[in-house]
Amino acid sequence: MNNISVTDLRLKFPGEDALVFKDLSFSVQSGEKVLMLGPSGCGKSTLLQVLSGIIPNSIELPMKATSIQLPDSWGFVFQDPDTQFCMTYVDEELAFVLENLQVQREEMAPRIEEVLKRVDLHLIDAHTPINEMSQGMKQRLALASVLLLEPDVLFLDEPSALLDPEGTQQIWTSIKEATADKTVIIVEHKIDLIADWVDRVVLFNDHGVILADGSPADIFANFQEELKRYGIWYPGVWEEYKTSDAFQLMMLNRQVVSSQEKIHIEDFHGYRGLVEKISAKHATVQAGDWITIVGENGSGKSTLLLSLMQLLRTNGVYEVNGVAIVWKKKKRQLPKGLSLVFQNPELQFVTNSITEELTVSLHGMPKADADMYAKELMRLFNLPDSVSRHPYQLSTGQKRRLSVATALTPSTDILLLDEPTFGQDARNTFAILEKLEQLRTKGMTILMVTHDTEIVENFATAVWTVVDGVVHTANGVGGAKSV
């Protein structure tokens, strides 16, 4: 095993003026567990790719360094579980790594079996389609394929950012078990499970400069202000947020907005093809309600939203604002007043600029009014007021806020959201929640799928639980003081 180090690193993205790193020096002792923290876009992930040699070997970027010492053997786990595999089945994917290492075929099956055990993936048959696994299982498969390389050093680039709490727990448990004797370098925002496991925390500022480098206890005690500003989910961030003035003020004003019934459901069923995927016996939603929809992966939460939005075939009694909704196959218009925000913001953008994006659905509104309306939304959601900026060029947090803003036309009074805070850093999460609360107090009704128990406890006025395609409602759960 050897140390990893880089001295006086300079690196720049083509087409951008500023350097990502200017004379950065950094080193890691063998066997160390290092956590790198910093605001998004500060270059942590880029540094991880430089230290592994992915830059410049696989991704060509102009860079130079006085000296650089790369590890002999390393493995890399990426953020997105869906873009790490090239094969269709679990065993084939692991075999791909073994083939690269020129392991003889006879040795492959036992090694595949052994490594799956090491990451706690207990499959009945290793020939399981990767697509049928949960995101958490996919990340453990990614870890397994990396462990087959027998690496001295492990690079982890936000491996739990796109996982639900259960998946997050599992991946970190597996990582801790499998890497006891290895050097591990981690970039991650969600750190409550690893904060006391790592030996060393390195904090970067916006300009790719190391602000602090020390033990976890030291960093978490002395740099809270920075951690908060950079949106890092450090241990206790929710507790701290709950004591903040902004939150306290919001909670003071949580009276019942109205008792007007917005949605009424009686014996409602939603279908994909011919198969019933979701059903609800009885449920009502009132104006100003904030309903969180919880449940395990694949239980039917997203299907419920699609059914309410009439994007799937439904039957049963379903009223929106007192109007009965009847499913028609060739329907041009979706139910009035309802809007849905999907998980992937990019797939919802339809125009080439932020302003257009916010005005395109305002059919029949005079242009001047529409522009005023867009300006108002941009202010409300802290979006850059730029005429030429393409929606794809926004940061992840901005994209998410824009996707929520696009759903708000003057006629929208019920907002359906599919995990709007998923994968977001702490600052963006609180920003989105505050905007939604602001809308709610003005009479907006919110139905939101989430995995985050803190959101359920602190913001929901009611919780619906979806179990195996059945909606269970129980009003008055959680921290809602008003209902």
Partner: protein
């Protein structure tokens, strides 16, 4: 999407499944070239019958599925045949009405072209129905030295099909939710094309690049020696396959000469 893949599970695995997929590809390819250059009508018809036997009897799929797959074959037979029949050149005119003209030669040509298109359909479907894509590329790498970078690009692309169809579905729903109304006529087609292709391409390119980096991170190296999880080699079945194919093609040829 999984349903589409499941549809391609045969009722029973015939001997054609056990033939080395790369060999099957080369043989079928060579035979189709013969079909293409052949100008004799009797030979073309007997070839179509031969490949029809392969398709209907030895593909191992239920008759219902085979009949369903026959629909496009019949359509292509009729469309190529009819065009040739009605507009083909010929001296011995049998029937004429304006531009439409049927002659003895045009009937001959129609049947020739129709049989060829049938042969292509039968062979193509038989091949697709009796191989597993992954094994096919493994065999191409092992038996025919196909560079692994091409094989893995196809395999990885195959894996991405479900993701793309799912995104297409989401995009369609998102456009509905955003209440996007397209113009009428050609402009509308252009708008629709643009609003689907741009985001789907952006996503696909990004995904492809990430997968490529992930593959290299798993120490995949272009051109490096590698071992194979699925060994594909020649077996007795391949010999039988070769013999059967050559014998039946030769007898089809002889039959067409000595009628």
């Amino acid at each position: 999407m999984q349903r589409v893949f499941n549809w391609f599970t045969p009722k029973r695995e015939t001997w054609l499944f056990r033939v080395n997929p790369a060999l099957k590809f080369i043989v079928f390819f060579a035979f189709l070239i013969i079909t293409l250059v052949n100008q004799s009508l009797p030979f073309a018809i007997s070839q179509a019958i031969l490949y029809g036997i392969l398709f209907y009897i030895f593909s191992g799929y239920s008759l219902k599925k085979l009949l369903l797959l026959s629909i496009p074959l019949v359509i292509s037979f009729l469309s190529t045949g009819l065009t040739m029949l009605l507009f083909g050149k010929g001296e011995t005119v049998l029937w004429q009405w304006g531009l439409l003209k049927i002659s003895e030669e045009s009937i001959q040509h129609a049947l020739l072209l129709g049989s060829k298109s049938l042969s292509f359909g039968f062979v193509g479907f038989t091949f697709i129905l009796t191989i597993q894509p992954v094994l096919f590329f493994y065999a191409m790498m092992q038996q025919f030295r196909l560079p692994s970078k091409y094989a893995y690009s196809f395999i990885a692309a195959f894996r991405l099909i479900p993701a793309v169809t799912e995104e297409l579905q989401i995009r369609r729903n998102a456009l509905k939710v955003r209440n996007i109304q397209f113009s009428k006529g050609f402009r509308g087609i252009y708008e629709r094309l643009q609003s689907y292709t741009v985001p789907l391409f952006a996503q696909s390119i990004r995904r492809a690049q990430r997968i490529a980096v992930a593959m290299e991170a798993k120490q995949y190296q272009m051109g490096a020696a590698r071992t194979y999880y699925y060994p594909t080699r020649y077996t007795g079945v391949d010999m039988v396959f070769l013999l059967v194919m050559i014998c039946s093609l030769s007898s089809a040829f002889l039959l067409s000469i000595y009628r």
